[in-house]
Amino acid sequence: MLDVENVTKEFGATRAVDRVSFAVERPGFIGIIGRSGAGKSTFLRMVNRLTDATTGAIRFRGRDVLALKGAEKRAWQSDCAMIFQQFNLVPRMDVVSNVLHGTLNRRSALATFFNLYPAEDIHRAIDILDRLGIAEQAAKRAEALSGGQQQRVAIARALMQDPQIILADEPIASLDPMNAQVVMDALRRIHEEDGRMVIANLHTLDTARRYCDRVIGMRDGRIVFDGTPEQLTTGVARDIYGADASFSEAATSTSLARLDRPARAKETELL
């Protein structure tokens, strides 16, 4: 389905991403872990075409998306939604408008400037917000919402795109543990219920273990680990993070260990 072949990104003399290759056969929940500067973000941004790769190919259903240009490139971007660490919403516009931005690729600029979205799109946007438990916020400005709510608006915008892949770049790094869980649960549910592929950059091991079907570890731009969450032992984690024996997961863990996993189903009650 998705084939990544020798993707490399150079910034001047440094290689941010170094000959990354892997293949995904069917939609899964894939986590990419590694310390800051390992090239995780750059890689996701290349998949979405926010950043151009230096060399390599990313094939989705046989088509090299790195070679797309102009309208075809924008069509691919609408097919491959991106969720950012800082949410990247338009703060002064209301929540539903922000969600409707997910349809921009299909609408003309003039119609969107005058807020002329079809009624069924507006209804769908509100349904998506309801699915994520924030329908009451529909008419509020995005900037008036809490971080966790804003990130769910961003996820709603991604879902509005009806994408094949959802890329999440550190989706919970700016959130407190409780909101982080709500957001990760929402992403996992989207993957399970809609069967969409999710690729998420994560910076905590416990999140990766708990939510992902497959974990890819990056270090200095290279893939150093690719396996199941079970294979991700403390020893492997030390390799990925380049840490010595003093490295302890518990010291940096942000998980709410005492909260039970079934909370996932009742995410809306958590806030």
Partner: protein, 291 residues
């Protein structure tokens, strides 16, 4: 918190209906606004055209007659251009000097006024309205009026022009600077206050490093505007290239070649300072060591 009261909150159909009503209202507003805009433009044009001595449509085909004559004459006497450029260069230097001094003086006045009139930074918060009104007055009086009064009092020359432009610049830059100040981060200022720094120290060491690049780019834009303003003041007797332009551009003297040379000099000066300013600004925002 809101989700806890989910049971009591509105149901999705209600939210839909509310939001659709909101959308319809917004569309109606923008539709009305568009109609009013178009109607005002059309009506305003009609009124202005009726009052015009000549009429817009009758005069339209003549619009390029004057420029064509200027260019025609200039091309005819193209051989004289280099000589004219050399001849008028000292006048250009005088004009640029007036602009530079007035921008510098105006920027300093604007700096002080802006700090005194920004909420959160002001030394005397209660006097903010006073300083704002002072800046309003400085902006409201046209430069040419001040220059005319001063020329009458002090006699013709560059000094009245400089004072007139500096006065206006102080008000204009003060307003722009204070908008920059409003976006400055107050945390460093608080940090300096916590070590016992005075107001002047807090402004100089906490605010200035943040706002300096934006100040500089506004000041350089103002410098460009002031070059033009000081050229215009030459028309009323403040000297510089404006005085020469007034003599050359008058109809029927056959001096349009000189006028063309003066325009070229002014254009060249603006381009030169635009390039210079973008370079300086880059260096200031990126830091001195950066390439």
């Amino acid at each position: 918190m809101t989700e806890l009261s989910n049971a009591g909150g509105p149901a999705v159909p209600d939210i839909r209906a509310d939001y659709m009503a909101l959308t319809r209202r917004r569309r109606a507003y923008s539709g009305v606004l568009l109609i009013v805009f178009v109607a005002l433009m059309a009506a305003g044009f009609q009124v202005a055209d009726d009052r015009n001595a000549g009429g817009f449509r009758d005069g339209l085909h003549n619009i390029f007659a004057f420029p064509a004559q200027v260019i025609g004459e200039a091309v005819e006497k193209a051989a004289l251009l280099p000589g004219h450029l050399v001849k008028f260069f000292p006048a250009l230097v005088e004009t640029i000097n007036i602009a530079a001094v007035s921008t510098l003086v105006g920027a300093l006045a604007g700096l002080v006024l802006s700090l005194l009139s920004t909420r959160g930074l002001a030394r005397f918060p209660r006097l903010i309205p006073l300083f704002r009104r002072i800046m309003d007055v400085m902006r409201a009086i046209p430069e040419i009026v001040i220059a005319l009064v001063l020329i009458f009092v002090l006699g013709g020359g560059p000094v009245p022009a400089m004072i007139a432009i500096a006065f206006h610049t102080g008000g204009a830059l003060g307003k722009l600077f204070s908008e920059v100040n409003e976006n400055a981060d107050l945390k460093p200022v608080e940090g300096l206050e916590s070590v016992g720094a005075s107001w002047i120290q807090r402004m100089g060491l906490g605010v200035m490093p943040q706002v300096a690049p934006n100040y500089l780019s506004y000041a350089l834009l103002r410098f460009e505007i002031n070059i033009r303003a000081s050229a215009i003041l030459g028309f009323v007797g403040a000297g510089g290239i404006g005085y020469e332009l007034k003599n050359a551009i008058s109809w029927g003297q056959g001096k349009f070649d000189e006028a063309a040379a003066i325009f070229l000099l002014l254009f060249g000066a603006i381009v030169f300072f635009d390039q210079l300013s973008s370079q300086y600004r880059d260096r200031l925002t990126r830091g001195r060591g950066a390439p």
